[in-house]
Structures are given as structure tokens and as C-alpha cells.
């Protein structure tokens, strides 16, 4: 078996993937300017991207670390509220964030600043939740994260500065399609790099066997908390984008069903497969929208589809498989050189992208 580990193939794969992302971007922009994608579909695209970030961030905890977390919506809400409060404050203190023609440079600046703030605040919450919670494993961790998520929601509903049960409204809509698209691509790239880094491998080792990995000198607590905090960071960013897309926030949105929605995406896509969760996030966001004409039946169809997929494909749609464009291209070019067994193939892919 041939391993592609040299620098040159790595750069080539970066370039290929970048070109692919640019092509997708140009395609979407082209469809938008041609009027084929109307503002409703563009809104769905934004939701898809938010869900991709959420699912990809939860993949860190659930796929990579192998722990079930049911409180992801809590981190999302923390991010959403901190970003919303920041931009609202900026607007109230007289900064011109957007004109009827579009978002001003100050608006873009505040948008990015709010995302950073949202990520940092959510990561801080992730840290204080993670340190005690990650002492537990499996179902107990699931329950305790559920508890923390619900507590965050109840607190947001009951303190003054978040607008209480009425929620926040009048948040400037600063999330523009272009910026969010590139942010999503950047976050996915960072996550891919992280999963394949030495830290990512350490976290995978903990997933496979925590006692053995501890014996190999991997600090379990450190890496568990690291994965959990990173996952909260990106969930916070997703929340911030959500807040500035919807312009209104209510704590009820971020209840435990929202956490479950995100978990469903991750599991359906395949645990441990980032590309799987991207595909599942896209599919599961578009499916209910596409079924809008049967709105009475859509949740029934959704839940039935979920049961059927789980029964017939318990490992999720992608399983552990990661789709790799570089690999696909080299396969197309040299169909003969690709005869190793399936197991070897997936290993090869891991190295190709490294």
C-alpha cells in the first residue's frame, strides 16, 4: 500500500479542496444573482450552515471523544445571547452597523467581534461545565450535560439582561451569506486539521480505551476538557450567527429538544465522520423544508425515516468513513492502483489529508 505523507501531496490536497469550496461558493452566488435561489432558499442555506457548524462541533465530543452530550443547545444559547447583547449595545451607542444598501465595514467588524466573544464565552461555560461533568462517562455524562443545558436555559429565562422569558428582539441582522459561508468553510478546515493533529489522535485514543491511553501517558482529563471546550466554542459561534440571522432570540428555542436535534444530525451522519455530519446537517435541514407542503405529516415522516435509518444502518450514513475529494480524484485518475481491501483504503485516506 502506498502512503501519501509528503508535504507536496498535502499541499495539493489543500489546493484541491480550496478550489472545490470556491466552486461551490461561486455556484451558490451565481444561482442567487440569477434569481434561482430566492431569499427563502437563501435563508434555508444559512440554517444549513449554522447546523453544519453545530453538528461539526458536537462531532468533537460525540464522535471523536465518544461521549454523549445532551446540552449542546445550552452553549449555543450562551453564544447567541452574548453576541446579541454586544451588537445591540453597539447599535444603541450609535455605531452605524448597516445601511439600507448593506452592512457597513463597522458592521462586519462587530459581527466578527461578536462571534469571537460568543465563542470565548461559550468556551468558558464549556470549561466550567466540562471539568466536573467529564468525570462521568456514558449515560451519566449525557444526563449531567442535559441538566447543565436546562439550567442555562432556565437562568437565561429568569435574569433581566437577557430579556427574560420574552427574549431579545431587534438584534441587528449582520450575518451575511458570504461571510458565513467562508466562516463555515474555515471552521470545518480547522476541525479537520484538529482531528488529524496529535491532539485529535490523543482524543481518539481516549475514545478507544481510556485506561490504555492513560497508561500511554495521555492526560485523559486534559484532552477530554479540551475537546469539550472546543466543541462549546464552535457551538457558541453557531449561536452567534443564529442570533444575527433571526434578529430575535427566545430561551425556549434552546431547550433540550434542540440539543437532541444536533445529536441526531451527528449520529445520523455517522459517529466520527465530519463529512457525514455535514451531509446529515444539510439533509436534515432541507428535508423538513422540502416536506413543508405536507406540513402535517413531516415530523411523522422525519421520525420514521430516523428509526428506519438507525435500524438498518446503526453506524449512521457514513459510519467512520470520511469523504475525501483528493482521494476521489486520484482514484479517478489511477483506477488500477486502488485494489487494497476496504480496511486499508480508509487508513490510506486518513493519511492523504494529513
Amino acid at each position: 500500500m502506498k502512503l501519501y505523507v509528503n508535504q507536496k501531496t498535502a499541499y495539493r490536497s489543500y489546493v484541491i479542496n480550496l478550489i472545490a469550496v470556491v466552486l461551490v461558493f461561486l455556484l451558490l452566488k451565481g444561482l442567487m444573482s440569477a434569481g434561482i435561489i430566492n431569499s427563502y432558499v437563501a435563508g434555508v442555506c444559512m440554517t444549513v450552515m449554522i447546523n453544519i457548524i453545530l453538528a461539526a462541533s458536537l462531532t468533537l465530543t460525540t464522535g471523536l471523544l465518544g461521549q454523549i452530550a445532551l446540552g449542546h443547545a445550552g452553549f449555543m444559547s450562551v453564544g447567541a445571547y452574548s453576541a446579541a447583547l454586544l451588537v445591540k449595545h453597539a447599535k444603541d451607542s450609535g455605531v452605524v452597523l448597516s445601511t439600507p444598501d448593506g452592512i457597513t465595514p463597522a458592521g462586519y467588524g462587530y459581527f466578527l467581534l461578536s462571534l469571537l466573544l460568543a465563542g470565548v464565552v461559550a468556551a468558558f461555560f464549556g470549561l466550567i461545565v466540562g471539568i466536573p461533568a467529564l468525570r462521568l462517562k456514558g449515560d451519566y455524562l449525557a444526563i449531567i450535560t442535559l441538566g447543565f443545558g436546562e439550567i442555562i436555559r432556565v437562568i437565561i429565562e429568569n435574569v433581566k439582561f437577557t430579556g427574560g422569558a420574552q427574549g431579545l428582539s431587534g438584534i441587528p441582522r449582520l450575518a451575511s451569506f458570504d461571510v458565513v459561508f467562508w466562516l463555515t468553510a474555515l471552521i470545518i478546515a480547522i476541525l479537520f486539521a484538529f482531528v488529524r493533529s496529535r491532539h485529535g489522535r490523543a482524543i481518539k485514543a481516549i475514545r478507544e480505551d481510556d485506561i490504555a491511553s492513560e497508561a500511554c501517558g495521555i492526560s485523559n482529563t486534559y484532552y477530554k476538557v479540551m475537546a469539550f471546550t472546543m466543541s462549546a466554542f464552535f457551538a457558541g459561534i453557531a449561536g452567534a450567527i443564529y442570533a444575527q440571522q433571526m434578529a430575535v432570540l427566545g430561551a425556549k428555542t434552546f431547550n433540550f429538544l434542540k440539543s437532541i436535534d444536533i445529536l441526531v444530525i451527528v449520529v445520523l451522519g455517522g459517529l466520527g465522520s465530519l463529512t457525514g455530519s455535514i451531509v446529515a446537517a444539510t439533509g436534515l435541514t432541507i428535508l423538513p423544508e422540502a416536506l413543508r407542503s405536507f406540513s402535517e405529516y413531516r415530523m411523522v415522516i422525519y421520525s420514521l425515516a430516523l428509526i428506519i435509518v438507525m435500524i438498518f444502518k446503526p453506524s449512521g450514513l457514513f459510519g467512520n468513513y470520511e469523504f475525501s475529494l483528493t482521494h476521489l480524484l486520484s482514484k479517478l485518475r489511477r483506477p488500477k492502483s486502488n485494489t487494497p481491501a476496504a480496511g486499508g483504503e480508509s487508513k490510506q485516506k486518513e493519511v492523504t489529508k494529513a
Binding site: D139, E157, N158, V264
Partner: protein, 298 residues
């Protein structure tokens, strides 16, 4: 003495809600004990039980039978639903990763909720009177017959369940399967039947809880099960999931904490306090109040 009377009333309320939580928590704990699955659809079994009794009460009254017999119909319907759910949705996943079964349970819960919404609309329906409501007065402390029936009925159900699990052959089989599924098969226990019976009993208890809950809060809607189920589930974890007395203890603790918080602190914060207690207990004693600490073998 007024403050004292209010306090006693809150305690009685707490015990009433707590016994409903305990009944539901028993279903969670028995299922978890035997298949290691958090049955997220259990809360929705309560909702189905409530709908079945809602529709059976007029029929029973027309036939001239007492309305409280709707418990029997609800019990049978829920037990059947539990067994069918297990056979169709959970059994194929018994050897799959645990999270897959968890997601399937969530999907079953969504399916039941949305089917009921489709069939009966999402608006709340009033629940008919099943038990006569008479009010007793005991030295200034007021409580009604529904409170009394709820507490008595749930205590009887718990005692019967304990006797069943401890004294009968089937109960012994249940304990064996939950201890070691593989070994119990080798001992000639039909583990599939045992698991089905566990689901039937757990769901049946949910049906009893449904009738009691609807008598106290006479409203039925497709979402009534989710929060009730979540609280009961917390009760099960608090007491030590998989342990039957633990579920009862957890149920009463959650019920009391909730009603005292509502009375003395804030009704909005009641959920947060309940979750806070859960977190503290899990951090101090990760397997719950009555849980045994099983060491990890390398």
C-alpha cells in the same frame, strides 16, 4: 400555625407528585436495568395512556361500568405499545452502539408525539372526572381524595412490583438478565420474553401514572409526556438507575423538592433546582443515591 399548615400541604402535594414521578421512574429504571437503554419514549407512553383513558371513559360510562376501570384499558394499551416498540425498534439494535438505540428511542418518542398531534390535534383536551373529588380536613390540613388515591395506588403498585421481582420466577429471571444477559441465556432463561415482560410492566406503570396525573391536572395534550418523563427520568437517575427502590426514592425526592421550591423560592426556578440537585448528587455519588460503585476492570 398557618405557616406550618402550608408547609404540610406542600409536603402532601410533593408526595402526590412524587408518587407519580416514582411510578414513571420505575419504568425507566426497569428498562435501563435490563437493556441498558434510556427509553426516551417512556414519557410518551404516559401520553398514550392518557389518551386511551380519555377516550375509554365515555364508553365505560355508557356501558354502565365505573369510570376508573379506564386504568385497566390504559394499562393494557400501554403494555402492548411498550412490547411492540421494543420488538420493532429496540430489539434489532440490541448489539448496536448504545447511542444508536438512544437516538432510536428519541425517534420513537417524536413519532408518538407527532402521530398523536396528527390524530387528536395539538390543543389540550379536558380530562373527565374518574374519581369523585371529596375534600378531607385534618386539623386545618386539607387534602382531597385524588391525592389519597394517588398515593395509595402508587404505593400498592410499588409493593406488588417488589413482590413480583423478589418472589416470582419471572422476577428472578428479570434480575438474572439485568445482571448478565449472556449467562442468563446459558441458564435457560428466555431473555427475549423477559425483556418484553419488563417493557410491558414498565409501560403499564406509566399508564397508571397517566390516569393519576390526569386526575390531578385534568388536561391531555400530545406534549404532556415529555416534561413529566424528563423529571421522572431524573428521579430514576437520582435514586440510582437500574435499582427499583432507588426509583421510588428518587421520585419522592424530586416531587418534594419541586413542590417546596415552587412554594418557597420561585416556581420558575423549580426545574433549575431539580437539575441542580441531580448534578450535585451525580458529582458526589456518580451512580445515584442507592447506586453501587462497581470498580472498573482493566
Amino acid at each position: 400555625m398557618d405557616g406550618f399548615v402550608i408547609f404540610i400541604n406542600q409536603i402532601i402535594n410533593g408526595i402526590q407528585v412524587g408518587s407519580i414521578y416514582a411510578l414513571v421512574a420505575l419504568g425507566y429504571t426497569m428498562v435501563y436495568g435490563i437493556v441498558k437503554l434510556i427509553n426516551f419514549a417512556h414519557g410518551d407512553f404516559i401520553m398514550v395512556g392518557a389518551y386511551v383513558s380519555l377516550f375509554s371513559v365515555p364508553l365505560l360510562v355508557r356501558m354502565g361500568v365505573p369510570a376508573w376501570l379506564c386504568i385497566v384499558l390504559a394499562l393494557a394499551a400501554c403494555a402492548l405499545l411498550g412490547v411492540v416498540t421494543e420488538r420493532v425498534a429496540y430489539k434489532p439494535l440490541r448489539n448496536a452502539p448504545r447511542i444508536t438505540a438512544l437516538i432510536t428511542a428519541i425517534a420513537v418518542s417524536l413519532l408518538l408525539e407527532n402521530l398523536c398531534m396528527l390524530l387528536f390535534s395539538s390543543s389540550s383536551k379536558p380530562f373527565p372526572t374518574v374519581f369523585n373529588k371529596s375534600i378531607f380536613n385534618l386539623g386545618g390540613v386539607q387534602f382531597n381524595s385524588i391525592t389519597l388515591i394517588t398515593i395509595v395506588l402508587s404505593v400498592i403498585s410499588m409493593i406488588l412490583l417488589q413482590l413480583f421481582v423478589k418472589k416470582t420466577k419471572m422476577g428472578k429471571a428479570m434480575r438474572a438478565v439485568s445482571e448478565d444477559g449472556g449467562a442468563s441465556i446459558l441458564m435457560g432463561i428466555n431473555s427475549n420474553t423477559t425483556i418484553s415482560i419488563t417493557f410491558a410492566i414498565g409501560s403499564g406503570l406509566a399508564a397508571i401514572a397517566a390516569v393519576m396525573y390526569c386526575s390531578a391536572y385534568p388536561q391531555v395534550n400530545p406534549y404532556m409526556g415529555s416534561m413529566l418523563g424528563l423529571k421522572a427520568f431524573i428521579a430514576a437517575v437520582l435514586g440510582g438507575i437500574g435499582i427499583i427502590p432507588g426509583a421510588m426514592l428518587g421520585g419522592f425526592v424530586i416531587g418534594l423538592v419541586e413542590s417546596l421550591t415552587k412554594a418557597y423560592i420561585s416556581s420558575q426556578l423549580a426545574d433549575a433546582v431539580v437539575f441542580g440537585i441531580l448534578i450535585i448528587v451525580l458529582l458526589v455519588k456518580p451512580t445515584g443515591i442507592l447506586g453501587k460503585n462497581i470498580g472498573e476492570k482493566v
